[in-house]
Every structure is written in structure tokens, then in C-alpha cells.
Symmetry: C2
Subunit: 466 residues, 2 copies
């Protein structure tokens, strides 16, 4: 029957869900299979694994066969899977890794400490470990690091019948592939020139006598091995491709498949979100990050912003006389700079995301600023009104109330200008626009906002010579 | 030859890149084909299209054949593609839409005003428009709204040879599909029960006489039509699937393919980023959003935060005597609450993203808070030291300097606690943790931070009875 993954309640006549402790207790392969079927969510799998003792994990590993090992380790995130390899002897770990696709195996091994990685690679089947070492040699976020080097290939001179026989000879390579790559030489990942592509569908529907050369599509979208993963992901996304061949001047190295793209997009989005919050991205999952690591990833920005923010103290010191004269002015400092910061953060968040997804480029700067300043006018008017009402209810007198209202409007308008320009400026000077934009904009607006506030105060408050 | 998409420089002997004005000027289909080959990036395509006059767009559309129309409209984002349909008569628009896959067609039509959508649907081939209307009937972000209802199906009782003949009869459905779905009834999107799946690869490698029933995999991951797109995307992602059948109690409605997943993940990430910045997501691309729309999407949150922030004024008013007595205390208000806000934003950004990608759940609350409070101690100590130095350099005297240092540390520690709890609390009460978390946390810390500041001041400053 069809497995309704999203239907959580067990179907009629089905036994109540096993948890991983039960599986180890029962100690049969069948129990593992039932658990895998009942627990499709990789995150739940990782949780239940984390609850096991090292001994229990070893016992569990003892129950796995290639199929179940592939199902389990293939779905876990690399760090959770690495935890498993941790507790078993290298040869056993090697056996598990052997059951994965090379690209999955490489991703998993990247999550291991160097020593353990070397041990596991040493214990793996030679052919396979050579392939995986090849992948590990590529830079961490390059397209080649994610590719599957075991691709199904045929020659253009083959008939469909001959091609089918050739494919029978490379079962591993063809597993869950839709495309067959037409290459010049033999099918090693090392050398053959990519000439074109045929789909298994083409082969099914073609006549056995037809030549591959007549079936193949020659116009193939490719990516070079050192291209950034994100660019490769966008190619697959934009062209609705199932697979993207990684080609180094004409020679086919491997294939990047669609299921990698979502992972890549998600990772990139996470890095941006964290940077937007003013911290540096981590390459370990949050729950596995130590407080010390969290501190290191954040303290630099926190200090930079703090030191920058000390300008606000100097600004206020410069207006100390005004404060002495009209102490009530102090009451609205957090309110006004807060509003400016919020307005700015709203804008940078939108603009940065539009830039990340390609919706906004440098040449659009003019349009962005015009748009945001117009929207800023509306927001400024709204907030000015509410600010006036609030100051009035505090009973601070008409002059201060007027000052607060005008300053609120002016600060929000000013925030709109710098917030819409800041991400574009950062990109212009070659920085990631997402870097600390949230806190950065807040801090910038704080300092400048105060100057606006007291300038306005001098205009409207007679006691200050207004 | 293989098209090296990422190689920007034209290959030897190739003419310099055309731009879309040239294409319209030349006015031949070949020119369109060359331009499409030279301009693979959908964003650049959209830009060049935006530069054309309506007349030029009509001329361009006149040059398209189904293949080029599919290549162009299929890669453009729906809103850019909609701009094209805008300027051409409904029958022509219908012709263009007919050349797309139903799911792409539906997505494009969602971007059109109702009247135009109706006109185009009316002018489309009846069979096709029925299929598209079916898709448009599903809620905007449901799995079914993104599925392709034209799927290749065979019967379990067929031999491989018969299956291949059956597939020859449904060319549209099999186009760039890797899987063939085994169903009970005939292949309408309406009704047949899903029994299992075979890949074209299975069919290629099987013997012609074999039964489909013996080849097919029955254990299929499926999703129900009304499931949230994001959940469907995670299923494809987690299980490394090329396609996810959309099944309504046992009956196959269509298939969600891998290339949709990246789009979905990207859209969701954008919505979160915008919410994190304290604005509501928009369903039009940024550059097409009017200032009025931007204002509407932001003003509610801006007001909520502003009104909340007015608490800071009341707090300060409550401590007005302290301010009068030691005016220098006012100098550090923005600095201290700013630092608290930044520390908080760093934390929420990390935690929210970890929650979005499934790395953190409610049950982890304890671990998250312990982790963040420990990291917070380190940050607090660092900032306290720097804060003391800064106050000292302003020459405000030892007591105030000490107050600033201790308050800075205390506020950051406090910010760590609420920032790590806030996203989990929001989720707990059923809200999206990303909602305005950046500005929200800043505003919360502002108010509470001031109370901490003046409490500390009362301890350490003799003039305040410390």
C-alpha cells in the first residue's frame, strides 16, 4: 500500500508506533524497518537517536543492512549521522558510509574530525574511498563538493539497444537517475568529454535500432566545478532542471541533482538570517553549538556596534545643557531612536531579501530610495501624530510635544533614506548586504536621530532659544 | 556543442551578445533563439523585457513559437511573465500560456488580475484550461496548487512492452518525468488510485515481457493536496525525492517535482526574513510594490512597537528625579538599551532560523535558555568592561562609570534570557516566531533595560542614596 507519510495517526490494524529504544530492545532488522517506516521525519529520527546510549547506538548499527543504513544515514543531517559514526569502530563506520551515495558520504565525512575521517576513509572499499576523497578535495561550498561523480554514461555511436546493455553494466550510477549522459570516452568521473544528454524516457520510447547521437540533446546547461553552490542552485532552479552536470572545460566530473538545491537554498537563507541579526553563521546545528562558540560568533559584532553606539553618549553630552534646561526631553530619547531603528530594520529586511533573490540590483538604487522615501513620508506622518498624542498625554507641554512629533517624523524619514541605501552601499563595496544590517541600521539611526531630535528642540522650545 | 551557461565571455567565433532591442529590430525567430541561448539568466531576461515598449513586446511575442515561448515564460518569474501577457490580446496570451506546463501556467495566471485571467482562460484550449482551472481552485500555498496534474500512468497488469506503448500515447505527461505512476483506472488527473511507481530506468532495464506489478515500488511517500507547500517541500528535501505524488485519499491528483521545492524554500525564507524585520510579507516582487503597499505592510507593526515603546517614556518619567540629580545618567540611555537590543536580536535571529529548519523545538526550550544564558554571561562581562572604559573616558566620575558597567552587563544577560525564550513562547501560543522578532525584542529590552539601569544607579550612586 501507499505510505501516507503526512498521515500521522497509524492506519487501521497497524501496531502503535515503535520508538528507537523498543527497536534496540526487540533487536531485529524487521523492527528497524518498521521504525523507519513509522518515523519518516529525519528530525524525529535524530532526536530518538540522540536519546540512545553509545551502547544502544552500537547495538542499533549491528541491526542495519545496506538498505536500512542508507535510509537512516541518508536522511539524517550530516552532524546527527556523524554522531553515529563517532561511537562505532572505523571498519563498521566505513561499512555504513559505503552504503551511501558518494556525495552523501562526503557530506557526512566533512562533519567528522580529521582523524576519524581519515580512519573511516582508510577502512572503506578502495574504489569508493577514492571517489569520496575526490569530492572532499573540492572547496566546502563549491558545486563540485555536492555533485554525485557516479553518473550513467553512454556513447553517441551506440544504438539504443547497445546503450541499454551499457547501462545494465552500471547499476550504481543509474540508480534514481532520470538522465543518461552522452560522453566521448569511457565512463570514469575523471575524463570523458560531455557531448549531450538523453533521458531514460527517450530510451524507452525510441526504437532499439536508433542511434544515441540522433536522440541526444546537445544544448545542456552546465556549471564549472568551482562555481559557488548558490549559483549552481539558481541555475537548477531557474531552468527547472532535474540535474546539472559539473563540467571542467568540456569534461564531465559529476552531476548536481535537484534534491541538493533545496538544501543549498535553505543553508544560504539561514546564513543571511543570522547575519541580518548581527551574528556570524555557524557550520554546526544550533543545539550542537557550545556557548563559547555562540559567544565567539557574536561578540565581534556586538563590540563593534557597542563602540559605535558610544557616539550617542558623546552626542548627548554635547546637548547636556539642553537636557539640563528641559529635562523632559530625555524622556523621549528611547522612544524616538527606537522608532527610527524599527522603521530602518523593516526596510533593510525587505531590501536585503529582494537583493538575495535577485529582485533588486545596484542599478535599481534610485527606484528603491524613491519608493522608500515616499513610503517613509506616510509612516513619518502617522508616527508624528501618535507621538504628539503620547507626549501630550504625558503632560509635558505643547513645545516639547511639538518637538517630539516633528522629530519622530523627521527621524523616520531619515531612517528610510539610510536604510534603503545601506544594503546597496554594502553590496557596492563588496560586502554581504545582510551583514548585521538589523543592528547596524539601528545603531546608525540612534546616533543621527539624537542630533535631529535636539536640532528640532532648539527650533521649537523657547527656553532653548527656539 | 555543450552550452557553458556560466562562461559569460562569448566563445571564439561567436557573435557578440544580442540585447532584446536588437532581437526585435532583427525580427526573426532565430534572433530570439540566439538571445535565449546567450541570456540564460531569468533576471537579466526580465530586465531586458522591462526595457521594451509595449509595441516592442507585442513584436517580440509575434516571433515566438511554442518552444521559445516556453523557454522565455517558463523561466521568468510569474510577475515578469504576467507583464508580457498584459500587453498582448487574450487569444495571443492564451497561445503563450498553452505552451507552458499546467503548473507553470497556473502560477503565471495567479499573477494576473481576475478579469485578464478569465479572458486568457476563456481563450485557451478547452482541455488545457480545464486542467489549469483545476489548479487555480486550490489554496494559494497548498501542495496541490504547485503540482503538475499531467502525470504519466500505467496499469500494474501491463507488461513492460504494453506499458511502453501506453506511455507513447501520453507524450505531454511523460515530458522530462523520471517516474511513471502505477494506477488502477485510466490516467485522468481526476480519479485513479495510486498503487505504486516505476521509473523509466526500470522500464529500460527490464525484460519486455515482465509485469509492471513485479517492477513497481509500492512504498511511496505522498502528500495530501491541502498540505502546506513548506511541509511538502521538506518531504521532498528530507527523502531526496525527485517527485512527490499529491494523493487525496488514495487517488492520484498530480505530482510535485523537485524543481518546485527550491522556489518554495526560497519564498518561505523571504517571508521569515521580512517578518524578522518587523514587516508583513508581500506577494509581489519588491520593485513592483507601490509605496502605499509598503506602508500598509509595515505601519501596523511600526505603530504597535511605537506605542509599546512609549512605556520607556513613562519609565524615564518615573525616574525623572534621578535624572535631574545626575543628568549624566541620561548620556548612557541609548548606549545601554541599544546594546541590550543588539544582543537580543543576535539571539532571536539564530534561534528562529534553527526553529524554521527544524533544529529547535519547544521541548528544547531548557537547553536553549541554558546555552544562551551561559553565552550571555561571557558577552555581559566583555561589554561591561568596555562600557566602564567608555564611561571613564567621558569623565563622568567613578560612580556613574561603575553604574554603566554593571547595568550594561545586567541588561545583556537579561536580554539573553528573554531573547532565547521569546521565539519559543511565540510558537507556543501558535504565532510565527519570526513575526517582528527583531524590532519586538529591541522594544521589550528598551523598556525593561531602563528599569535595570536606574535600579543599579540607585545602588551605586551616593547622590541617589546608593
Amino acid at each position: 500500500m501507499t505510505r501516507q507519510i503526512l498521515a500521522r495517526r497509524p492506519a487501521a490494524g497497524q501496531q502503535p508506533p515503535l520508538d528507537l529504544h523498543d527497536v534496540v530492545a526487540v533487536g531485529t532488522r524487521r523492527a528497524v524497518e518498521v521504525w523507519l517506516e513509522q518515523t519518516p521525519d529525519p528530525r524525529r529520527r535524530a532526536d530518538e537517536l540522540a536519546d540512545l546510549s553509545d551502547g544502544q547506538v552500537r547495538a542499533l548499527v549491528g541491526l542495519l543492512d545496506p538498505a536500512t543504513a542508507d535510509d537512516l544515514l541518508g536522511t539524517l543531517d550530516p552532524h546527527a549521522a556523524a554522531e553515529v559514526l563517532h561511537v562505532v569502530p572505523a571498519p563498521v563506520a566505513a561499512g555504513l558510509v559505503d552504503s551511501l551515495d558518494p556525495d552523501e558520504a562526503a557530506e557526512l565525512l566533512r562533519a567528522l574530525p580529521d582523524a576519524e575521517r581519515a580512519a573511516v576513509l582508510g577502512a572503506m572499499r578502495v574504489v569508493r574511498s577514492a571517489v569520496v576523497r575526490g569530492l572532499l578535495a573540492w572547496p566546502d561550498d563549491s558545486a563540485a563538493a555536492r555533485m554525485n561523480p557516479e553518473v550513467a554514461t553512454v556513447r553517441p555511436t551506440m544504438t539504443v539497444r547497445e546503450a541499454v546493455d551499457a547501462l545494465r553494466a552500471q547499476p550504481a550510477a543509474t540508480a534514481d537517475a532520470a538522465e543518461v549522459w552522452v560522453t566521448s570516452g569511457p565512463g570514469e568521473a575523471s575524463g570523458p568529454a560531455l557531448l549531450g544528454v538523453v533521458t531514460f524516457r527517450d530510451l524507452v520510447l525510441a526504437a532499439p535500432g536508433q542511434l544515441v547521437a540522433d536522440l541526444m540533446r546537445e544544448d545542456v546547461v552546465t556549471v564549472e566545478p568551482t562555481a559557488d553552490q548558490e549559483r549552481a542552485a539558481h541555475l537548477l532552479q531557474d531552468h527547472h532542471l532535474a540535474a546539472l552536470p559539473v563540467v571542467d572545460d568540456g569534461r564531465l566530473l559529476g552531476v548536481l541533482t535537484g534534491d541538493d538545491v533545496a538544501d543549498i537554498v535553505e543553508e544560504e537563507a539561514t546564513e543571511d538570517a543570522v547575519r541580518q541579526g548581527g551574528a556570524a553563521p555557524m557550520d554546526v546545528p544550533y543545539l550542537r553549538a557550545s556557548p563559547l562558540l555562540l559567544w565567539r560568533k557574536r561578540i565581534v559584532w556586538l563590540l563593534v556596534l557597542f563602540v559605535t553606539a558610544t557616539i550617542t553618549s558623546s552626542v548627548l553630552q554635547h546637548y547636556e545643557d539642553e537636557l539640563e534646561t528641559v529635562i523632559t526631553l530625555a524622556l523621549f530619547v528611547p522612544l524616538l531612536i527606537g522608532a527610527g531603528g524599527n522603521a530602518g530594520t523593516q526596510i533593510t529586511a525587505t531590501v536585503i531579501r529582494a537583493m538575495a533573490t535577485g529582485g533588486v540590483r545596484l542599478r535599481d538604487a534610485g527606484r528603491v530610495v524613491r519608493k522608500e522615501v515616499t513610503a517613509g513620508f506616510l509612516a513619518a506622518a502617522t508616527i508624528a501624530l501618535v507621538g504628539w498624542l503620547r507626549a501630550w498625554t504625558l503632560g509635558v507641554g505643547g513645545e516639547v510635544a511639538l518637538t517630539v512629533a516633528v522629530a519622530a517624523g523627521a527621524i523616520i524619514l531619515w531612517a528610510s533614506v539610510i536604510a534603503s541605501l545601506l544594503p546597496l552601499l554594502l553590496r557596492r563595496v563588496g560586502l554581504d548586504p545582510a551583514v548585521g544590517s538589523g543592528p547596524l541600521i539601528t545603531t546608525l539611526v540612534d546616533g543621527t536621530g539624537l542630533i535631529i531630535y535636539f536640532t528640532v528642540a532648539r527650533w521649537f522650545i523657547t527656553a532653548l532659544g527656539g
